[in-house]
Symmetry: C2
Subunit: 87 residues, 2 copies
């Protein structure tokens, strides 16, 4: 059993209106110190696989086919071994 931490971000060239909105709101709260806010998704899931290679393949597949939009988004993920689902 592995736990995958997936991060999905909009590509740098794509405008991120949500990030811009957060940046403006932060700007009025904390004067000018925070900039270039970009918002993405974080997905955690458990993978039932015998080996790290198999788990990697399953998560890669899930990202490519469903979780991320390959035209507009990039994804990265890390795998860690996990004992039980509740961990």
């Amino acid at each position: 059993m592995y736990k995958a931490n997936i991060t999905i971000t909009l590509r740098q060239s794509i405008l991120d209106p949500e990030g811009k909105a957060i940046e403006q709101a932060l700007g009025s709260m904390i004067e000018g110190a925070l900039s270039n806010v970009r918002v993405g998704k974080h997905i955690e899931l458990f993978v039932n696989a015998d080996s790290r290679e198999k788990a990697h393949e399953l998560v890669e597949n899930a990202c490519k086919k469903m979780l991320a939009n390959p035209v507009m988004e990039d994804y990265t993920f890390t795998l860690e071994e996990a004992e039980t689902v509740s961990a």
Copy 2:
């Protein structure tokens, strides 16, 4: 200048319908190998601060006061030194 990578997740005790929906959709695509999907937010931003301590304080403040809902969500973040905003 520092770059902050912030991860905001729903607390374990809070139901995550978005994660459940993704889990079902993944289940019909990749037979049963992926479970316990939880969805959160990933926020990247640049911090203009003289020291790591100051940057930490600014990001902590932003998370607490605006980015995360302290009742339902947990947040973690990492800071890395960055040369320019475009990095």
